[in-house]
Structure formats: structure tokens, C-alpha cells
Symmetry: C2
Subunit: 205 residues, 2 copies
Amino acid sequence: MKEDRRDYSKGELKLSDLQGDPLDILQEWVNKAKSNELDPTAFVLSTSVDGQPNSRVVLLKEIRDGELVFFTNYNSSKGRELAQNPKVSLNFFFPSDERQIRILGTAAKVSESESDDYFYSRPYESQIGAVVSDQSATLESRASLDDAYEAALKLEQNPKRPENWGGYAITPFQIEFWQGRPSRLHDRFQFSLIEGNWEVKRLYP
Amino acid sequence: MKEDRRDYSKGELKLSDLQGDPLDILQEWVNKAKSNELDPTAFVLSTSVDGQPNSRVVLLKEIRDGELVFFTNYNSSKGRELAQNPKVSLNFFFPSDERQIRILGTAAKVSESESDDYFYSRPYESQIGAVVSDQSATLESRASLDDAYEAALKLEQNPKRPENWGGYAITPFQIEFWQGRPSRLHDRFQFSLIEGNWEVKRLYP
């Protein structure tokens, strides 16, 4: 394990590569990752309550109005933690492109109509999955979940979005773009939102 | 982006698959990931200061004595944040195996001799990289970093480990193993350290 390392040599990152809105650059990096990552929209979302961080993978569903949108069960661990503290960090890692994006921001629930729109666009089976899962609660047996799912499949032809299921929009105030380089001398550029404008600086690797 | 989803169907996870020490299971999952992930030892480390989480990718270097070890610059953002609050979360994501491991724990510096041992085992160029990088500080230009690196390559035949470079060992108190399943009905098992013993329960997906 100690010997598991590789030199990153696929690219370099210059300030001239990062012109424009950092969320547009993020969208470009995600689009690029679609050619070689299985889950190009996956990112690690971290919350924090009483000084204890907590992290899980979620899928980015949209970038709009300068915000990043994902959906979940509001009663899940992340939902309960966000209700206590909306401050979050995000990490996108694209090993094939040897790239990483680090974000700091704040999460807020989206409107019910936005949650509706996305919920009803999901595959029917995923809608049923959301209806039957009491996310993050203790589950006594897999069989009881499977039974509830099979029963709901028969009963609910047009499942309604559960009230505790919906979206969050993350407003970022810091975004770092990281490109791996040989000998651990990586290229890092950090955007910070200062009085409404994005300012950028290069960081030591 | 909203349509970017896939059904996870590679495997299922049963309690009988998770017998023994959860850190041994973690080691098995990392070993398995070596066959199809570019960075199988990579995980997202999240810290938190004043309620603001912060996340970045680091490489796991060893599992020993019930702890997970990685190395960094103690003056980096993560080092400064860990000095203020040692509580951390970790996330390993293996898209090929459709698996995720989520960990909560506490970080502490390893001994100087352990940091020495690892530092001097690294490739010479990485040692020099560590010597010349004032990690996370603002860097005025790539050229100044490259110049310092080239100069150090000539000067330092046997670089000394910088005093501000070394390891952390993370002691976990909660470890979740996650296996993706169809229709978002994933298998999740959470180990919690209770009075010195690991207890495990299944969670709703």
C-alpha cells in the first residue's frame, strides 16, 4: 500500500485555461469526465455537526443560477445534518483526467415544484425506491425492504413525491481546480467569491 | 446531467460478507479495487473548523494497529485544520465495484520516526517536491516553483524530511460499507465502536 503511487502527467493547468465563471469550468470538467468515468457527476458531500464532519457520495443533477443541485431524503443523515448546519464542502475526483475540484459553500432546500419536476422525471423504480426507504434508519432485514418494494410496485402506479424527499442547491463561495503533475508538484488554482466577484490565485501544491 | 444515472447491479452485501474486523474488510475492498481503479488507495478526507467542512483527496499509506495512516505537510490547510479540530470523515468510492466506505474518526500525528521511515522511502523527486512546496500558500508563478525545484534537485542530494512534513493516523469509531443495488435500494452496513467492540447494523438505503 505504501508503494501505491503514480506520477500524474496527463496535463497542466494555467490561469489562461480558467477564464470565465468557475461553475462553467466545473461543467466542462464534468463533461470531459463523461468519456472515461463511470460516475462523472458523483461528488463527495461533507456536512458537519458539533465539529464532526460526515461524508457521502451524491450525484450532481444540475448547475443553474450559480448553484449546484442534488436530491435526497430530507430525513437522511445528510438532511438532518444540513438542517442543523448548512455549511458544506464538495469534492469531485476524476482519476482518469488526474483532476480534482474542491468546493466550499452553503446548502438550502430547493422549491417543492423543483423537487416535483425532478422526482417525476426519475425512473418509476427509483420513485418507488424513494417511497419505501426510510433513509439512514436501522433496517431489520433486507427481506422487509424487498417486500415493501414489491408491494409498492403493485399498489402505487403513480407514486407521489414523499414530502421528505427533495433537492438542495449549494451556493459556492470557494472553488479550487486541481490538476495532478509529476513529483507531486500539482497545479492548483483557487477561486474565492469576494464582494460578488470571483478572484483567483495559484496555490502551492 | 439530470439523466446521468446508472443502475448498480454488480453485487449485493450480506451481513455474512462482513465478518471480522472492519479494517480488514476495508483492506480487502482496497485490494479488490486495485484491479480496476487508477487510485485505489485514494480517499476524500474531510476536516471541519468553525462548522465549515473542507475536503480533499489523500492517499492511504497503511492500515496498522486499528488506524489509517496518510502523510502530508503539517502546514497545509488540512494540517492547520486538524490542529484546531482532529475530528475527520473519510470517503472511499470505488465506482467499478459500485462500492463506498464511509468512516468517522479522529486524527493524530504519528511519531517522527514513522514519518522519517516513510519520507525516505518516497521517490527522490517526491522528497524534493515536499521540500520546495509551501503547501496551500499562495504561489506567485509556476516558474518560481519549477526554479526552486530545479535548484533543489542540484543542491540536495540527500534531502532531510522537513519538520512540517509527516503522517497522521486516523482512529475510526464508525465505518459504513455501501454496495450499490438496483433502483437505489443499496445495501448498507454500519459498524460502530461501542465500549471497545464493533457492533454492526443494516441501514435503510
